[in-house]
């Protein structure tokens, strides 16, 4: 292998290698917490890794959990990479899931029609939901961070209102605020019979490729990246930056909505209040996007690692008497360290060509000086 290919490979692996170094450091810190509880760190970590990736069953469970994280991560990445720092993935996912479940059950006509309409309208719905914050930004200069955050809360309660008062599943004791189950014929099939993993994961993989392609190989991707870097440059180049803003935010809403749709079609077959919120899918997805610098391939692997941390954490709770809190602590440590750019600095020193001394901030930073920074004011 010549050095060129090597460099290409290491370039390709860069966004992925960082989490591994960070995880190592995190595990060292986590070990302290475990020792306090009187358990052996090695044992706990073994259980954790096994519970996340150690057998076909565990791996598939982790991938199932990773699916919505990957998708919302991609949704976050496309708007963040064009410098629109919205945190509305959760609300959009709720919209997607809610609409899909309701339309998929209540729409008149044959099942295939229900399914088609459910998918189309729920994606439109979540796109419009995101478009609303774009509109608020455009017309009222309202900080995206605020409007999307507020819409997350509002969306959850509004969906809850409709489920509770209009679409409630009253077939059982009606204690859960949830809609009725969609028909078996329109559910996403499982990838492996008898396991949870469904073809939604396949869709997520496809989406990773599509988003990568969109970002790196299309005019729209080029335009939006440039608008993320310098909006004046775009205006001057003839790019309609407003179109980009509306386009990117809507697309990001559609993608996050798709995460909800897939959860309904592949996992729960209905919309249940609080499921997406309690699992923090969209937030973890956003974290994955930030950690991997909006690189879709990086998001894919980071999401799987983050999902593995959750499923592995649950495995600790099952297999030992270590309380759930300890696995929460370990999870917190790991993500904390993953976020750090320690590894990057490592890599920089060893690389031949250093990057400019004071680039406003690496792409992982939430706030990049000399850009909009609208998240603050």
């Amino acid at each position: 292998m010549n050095s060129g290919t090597l460099r290409k490979i290491s370039h390709f692996l860069a966004p992925i290698s960082q989490p591994f170094i960070a995880i190592f450091l995190a595990l060292v810190v986590g070990a302290i917490a475990i020792i306090v509880t009187g358990e052996s760190p090695f044992n706990i970590y073994k259980i954790m890794v096994k519970g996340a990736f150690g057998s076909e069953y565990y791996l598939l469970t982790t991938l199932t959990r990773a699916t919505p994280i990957i998708i919302t991560g991609l949704g976050a990445a496309i708007c963040w990479s064009s410098n629109y720092m919205g945190i509305g993935g959760e609300g959009q996912m709720i919209m997607g899931g809610f609409l899909c479940a309701v339309i998929g059950f209540h729409f008149p006509g044959p099942q295939w029609l229900k399914l088609t309409c459910a998918i189309i309208f729920s994606l439109i719905g979540s796109g419009l939901y995101s478009l609303f914050s774009a509109w608020l930004l455009d017309k009222f200069k309202m900080s995206l961070a605020i409007s999307t955050l507020m819409l997350n809360y509002a969306g959850a309660y509004i969906a809850m209102h409709f489920v509770q008062n209009v679409f409630l599943d009253t077939t059982g004791d009606a204690k859960l605020v949830q809609t009725q189950m969609i028909d078996e014929s329109i559910r996403l099939p499982r990838i492996v019979e008898g396991q949870k993993l469904h073809w939604g994961f396949g869709i997520a993989v496809l989406l990773v490729i599509l988003v990568w392609f969109m970002m790196n190989r299309t005019v729209f991707g080029y335009e939006s990246r440039m608008s993320g870097f310098n909006i004046h440059f775009c205006d001057y180049g003839g790019i309609n930056s407003k179109k980009i803003m509306y386009g990117m935010l809507t697309l990001s809403g559609v993608i996050c909505g798709l995460a909800g749709v897939i959860e309904v079609l592949g996992v729960n077959y209905r919309y249940t209040h609080n499921t997406y919120v309690s699992a923090s899918y969209a937030w973890i997805g956003l974290n994955a996007a930030l950690i991997s610098g909006y690189n879709p391939i990086g998001i894919f692997f980071t999401s799987i690692i983050l999902a593995g941390i959750s499923t592995g954490g649950a495995a600790i709770a099952r297999a030992t008497s270590v309380p759930l809190e300890i696995s929460t602590i370990i999870q917190g440590c790991i993500t904390l360290f993953i976020s750090a750019r320690i590894a990057i600095q490592f890599r920089r020193r060893s690389r031949k060509l250093a990057s400019p001394a004071k680039d406003g901030g690496s792409s992982g930073d939430i706030l990049i000086p000399e850009t909009k920074g609208e998240i603050l004011r």
């Binding site: 519970g51 069953y57 565990y58 469970t61 959990r65 509770q164 008062n165 409630l168 009253t170 059982g172 004791d173 009606a174 204690k175 859960l176 605020v177 008898g194 949870k196 996992v267 729960n268 249940t272 609080n274 499921t275 309690s278 699992a279 923090s280 959750s310 499923t311 954490g313 649950a314 495995a315 709770a317 099952r318 297999a319 309380p323 759930l324 696995s327 929460t328």
Partner: protein, 324 residues
Amino acid sequence: AADDVKKVAIILDPVGVNPFLTQVVDKFAEVKAAGTYPMDYSVIECADDTAWAENIRASVEEGYDLILVVGWQGADPLNEVATQFPDKAQYVIIDTVCDNPNVKSYIFKPQEAAYLIGIVAAMVSADAGKPEGPFGGVHANPGQGSFEWRYGYMEGIKSINPKVTNDDFIFNYTKSYTDAPTAKELALQQAAQGCVFINAASAVADFGTFEAALEKGFYTSGQDFDRTSPDNPNIITTQVKYTGIVAGMIIDEFFATGIQPGVVSLGLKEGVVGATYITDDGVNPRNTAVLTDAIVAKAREAADAIISGKLVIEVPLEEEYMKQ
């Protein structure tokens, strides 16, 4: 010998906040310590809603003999697993019905306990000169899940004073099981609207309501297990739900005959729900000045009617009831 030890998985929400769950876990600890049965158990707390499905499925994978799911979030996943692996384990769910031939469901009739609290609330308010309320309630969330408590409470009050309508009730929600400061402020505001009695049902956030009661002098009730305290005479009773008893029943059944699928509904009659000082004597002395003998007698009367089947309390849908 180790092969004979039966492994039980108890799958539930994080235990700490919810006394309803603590009782189940404590019962298992007690039985294990007693050594009556060759049994080992794991308490599997679910960090989020998705973890329920994962943990239930994983428990089958990990070879547990009895899978005990405590909480309605587990109904869907348990249904699926029980259908897919009917013979790999035995399945029990508590607090909701899982419509599956391989699952045994235990449900409660907490409305029966709440009905008794309603009677207490109505009479205490009447004694304080406010027979028509308003009557307060600080609960965690709106919705059918906890409506059984509210329904029983409202019906109990109405049974004492038929003039009371839905408009005479003030319910507020903390949206959290732990947000005691919010619970306290909500209770203070209800008291300012004239509530003499405020029904607390928001898990550990109830301590906020209790503090408010002590400060403002209104009366309140605890939930799940006896919350009366010598430090706080204003907690005059508790709507109890002895889930530990159910845990004992399940263990006995499992080792005696194996789990027999079906639905069992538990109420006052089975001694699983009740009201402190009405259906039991309580751990602390009763605040007799407020919870007078007359009130206790009246409530016991209702309890007897319920136990004998003369009085049946069926919970309707919340929206329909509240529209009346």
